[in-house]
Every structure is written in C-alpha cells, then in structure tokens.
C-alpha cells in the first residue's frame, strides 16, 4: 500500500501535510453537505435531485444522435413530433404533482440553463429524484447559445462546474438540484434525423 504507513489510513498523513485545515476535504473523512443538497436554500426553488450517470446505450457521445438505430431505443431517446428527445425519468407522484404525462416533453432546469427532454414515468426513480444520462452527443439551443433551452438533451449544462473541493481534482456533478415542468413550446424541424415526423413510437 502506497501510504506513508503502508496501511489503510483513516487519518490521512499526506493530507495532513498538504492541507491539514481543508474544511472541504479534512484528513479524517467526514460527511459534508454539498451545495446541491436538499438542505440548502436553493432547494426551495429546485426541489428535485437529478442524477446523471453514464449513458447506457451509447458510449458517451459515440453512437448517439447520428441518425442511427440506437435513437430508436425507447430508453435512450423518444421520437416526439419528428425529433428524438433525450429521456428523463421521473417518479409518477412527482410527475402528477406537476401535471406531467408519460412520453410528453418537459423542461428541466437550474439557474445554469434548461434542457428539453422526453419524460418517462417510473418507480425506479424514487420520489424526489429524477434520472437522465450524462453526455448525449448534441447541444442544440432553441435560441441564443447559453441562454436558451437545449433541445439536444445535454444535461451536463445543468450540473455544477465546481469540483468537489478546491484543492484537488474531483468532479462534483454527480447530483444536482433541478426543477421540472411541462413544456408546451415548439421545436424547429430536426435536421439530424430521417425519421418521418408522424412515425409512432412502438410500445
């Protein structure tokens, strides 16, 4: 073991030398609330926790949204009005409270931006938690880039850019506070797909 003592260290020698008083990463591990916690004041406006694990059916951006048949996997993207939307999963209770129906379009947002997704109702997302994969291949803002909703499904737009702690490297984006609402806007034609607009999604 490559620690100074050669053993598992609960009280970390190297951290004591490097940053003994780092509140964000103390030498003895302890739980610390993130800025994306339900215990923060932002949670009043953004009451849902969003988790964004790696995509299941594409390899990061590879094979997503290239007009291939992976688009037709109903847990990957959903074809609505001729456009393949990225899927966001939500518990039926949370959906009902927001007037959101299965396979409809929603706007998921934080103060950092907003993304239009197709919603799937599932009890695999516990109440209060929404789930959508990270790293889709498209960023397609409806208007001015950075200031308008994204039609592509880039949920990474919503997650915090800050690292878990300042004095080190660890991404801090595995969970994030969001709010979700029904979206009734209209999207321009999708230049990325040859799928016919009226084509129904198989169930």
């Amino acid at each position: 073991m490559q620690t100074p003592s050669g053993k598992f260290e609960f009280d970390c020698e190297t951290l004591k030398r490097f940053a003994p008083d780092d509140e964000e990463r103390p030498p003895i591990l302890k739980y610390r609330r993130t800025n994306e916690s339900l215990g923060t004041e932002r949670a009043e406006r953004l009451p849902l926790q969003m988790i964004t694990p790696h995509p299941r059916y594409s390899f990061h951006t590879q094979n997503d949204a290239k007009d291939g048949f992976i688009n037709d996997i109903e847990d990957h993207r959903l074809l609505i009005d001729g456009r393949y939307y990225w899927v966001l999963r939500i518990n039926p209770e949370d959906a009902q409270a927001r007037g959101i129906r299965e396979a409809s379009l929603v706007r998921v947002f934080t103060e950092r931006g907003s993304v239009i997704c197709a919603v799937r109702l599932t009890h695999c997302a516990r109440p209060g938690v929404v789930h959508g994969y990270a790293s889709c291949a498209v960023y397609e803002p409806l208007g001015e880039p950075g200031k308008s909703p994204d039609l592509g499904g880039a949920l990474n737009v919503l997650t915090p850019p800050e690292p878990q702690f300042v004095r080190g490297n660890a991404m801090g984006n595995s969970n994030c506070l969001v709010e979700v609402e029904a979206w009734t806007g209209t999207a321009p034609a999708d230049a990325r797909t040859t799928a016919a607009p009226a084509q129904p999604v198989a169930h």
């Binding site: 059916y57 048949f69 847990d75 074809l79 039926p92 009890h123 695999c124």
Partner: protein, 282 residues
C-alpha cells in the same frame, strides 16, 4: 426431424438491447434475396425488448420481455397469405417471402403477436425469420442469441418431443395466444411479465428503537387456503410473487417471535406494496 426453437429467460435479461440492435445491424441496408429485404432504419424493430415494471417505490420489479415472430406451427399469417407468400420450412422457421409477399398488408393484422411490420417504402410485410440465411450458411445460432451477453436467449435445434421435455422440465411458457398457435419461442420465468406480487415491510422495536423484523413467518391466505409462505428478510421485507392479477381478496398472516400476530386483508388488483406494517410487542 430437428427443428429450431428459441428460449428467452426473463430472469437473465438485463434489457441491454444487444439482440434488437444485432437484428437491425443485420438487415438495415442489407438484403438477402430469397430470405429478406432490407429493414427500415427507424421505427419498430423485428426483434424488440420492452421494459415491464411492476409495483411501486420502494417495492419495484423491473423485467424485460423479448418480442419477435413466434414461428407458429399453426400460423395465422400463413392462412391469409396469397401465392404461398408465407412458408413453413421443415426446420420450423416461418418465412415471409420478400418477393411473393409484396403488397400483402393483411399479414400485419393477421399476426396475433404484432410481429409483422409493414415496410412502407417497399410495400412489404416483414418479420424476423430467425436469421435463416445465416443458419443455412452454417451458423449455429441466429444473431440475437449470438449477441446476448447473459445467456438469456438460447436457440435449440431439437426434435419436437425433446423440446416438449425441455419445456416441461424448465417450466417454459408461451406468450398468449401461443398454445393455440403452437409457437416456437418459449419463455422462462414469464411470471415477471404476466403475474403480480404482494410485498410488505415489517417494523418492530429493538432496545427502544425502531427495527426491521427479520425471520417472521408470513403466510398468504385465500380464504382458508395458504397460497404462499415464507420468512421476512433482514430488512423485514417479504414478497409473494406469481399471483394472478385482479384475483380478489387475500389475507397476509404474520407471526413473529416476541410480537403479537397480525393479519392484513387486501384486495389484489395489481402488484401491491402493503407499506410498513408495525408489529406490537407480545
């Protein structure tokens, strides 16, 4: 005469979609004269995997179902086909002839398994023909089976008697109305698609604190008959699965050491979580 059969196990399928993608890969943009014309890039696949969710948070069960042409021995599509457009091969495979079937849209509605897809561009009814072109070229299994990482799909080329023996030994079932049409795609652990469950969580007290009740004897009763029994696990959870949906009144009887017995009545419609059931000290 040995014939092809397919066995799909719901307990082994993770919903990875490799089988469905392999079939698209085989036929999108490729035609096999005498076997199959090209498959449309988008829309419903000839082989499909669909999620089937039961219960509600926190008692949820997620399973996947495999759907394709069931290669019926008594095939309704064959009965409406004209000019011999649908053939039953001697190895059990049902083939829609890509030349002879042109324009025969009736085949789509004739299939009770929704396995025939209409190719608008080619004006052609199409279904998954077990990758007959590959099997005829010496492949030992079709592509969905070859691409399945978990062994959830098996292709068996056996005598019908042998298949009946395997089906009864492994308690394989057919999709409705498969018995009537003597389908060649068999399903293992189909209860996760066709049946419902009752679950609950037992909560008691241990040294003044709320605690999970483990090892309680739980029985599921219909009238005076026990239709299931088991013990709660370390989390106090119990579950009775494989029950017919909409099957009426049941009673759950709970007996746990150190606690007073408790009965819970329920009306079973769909998969059901009884919630946290609090037991009183004896």
């Amino acid at each position: 005469m040995k014939k092809w059969n397919l066995v799909f196990d719901l307990e082994l399928c993770t919903g990875c979609q490799s089988c469905a993608m392999a079939v698209k890969d085989e036929y999108v943009g490729n035609e096999f004269p005498g076997y199959a014309a090209t498959m449309p890039l988008h829309g419903a696949g000839w082989v499909q995997i669909h999620a089937h969710e039961r219960g509600r948070f926190p008692a949820v069960d997620l399973a996947y179902i495999f759907q394709c042409c069931q290669h019926c021995d008594d095939a309704p599509c064959m009965k409406v086909a004209r000019n011999g457009a649908v053939k039953k091969r001697s190895d059990g495979i049902v083939m829609i002839d890509p030349a002879l079937a042109k324009g025969q849209k009736e085949l789509v509605d004739a299939c009770p398994f929704h396995a025939v897809h209409w190719n608008e561009e080619l004006s052609l009814p199409q279904a998954w023909n077990f990758d007959a072109h590959l099997l005829d070229a010496g492949w030992s299994a079709p592509r969905p089976v070859q691409s399945c990482p978990t062994g959830a799909l098996r292709a068996l080329k056996v005598e019908d008697d042998e298949m009946r023996r395997i089906a009864s030994e492994e308690r394989l079932q057919r999709l409705e109305p498969g018995e009537k049409h003597r389908t060649r795609v068999h399903y293992k652990n189909l209860y996760r698609f066709t049946s419902v469950f009752v679950a609950g969580t037992l909560v008691g007290r241990d040294q003044g604190l709320e605690a999970c009740v483990r090892g309680a004897e739980v029985r599921l009763m219909r009238g005076s008959t026990a239709v299931g029994s088991g013990a709660s696990d370390a989390y106090g959870d119990f579950r009775f699965d494989g029950l017919p949906p909409e099957s009426g009144a049941y009673r759950v009887e709970i007996a746990a050491k150190g606690y007073r017995g408790k009965n819970v009545e329920l009306e079973l419609t769909n998969s059901h979580w009884l919630g946290e059931i609090r037991l009183d000290a004896a």
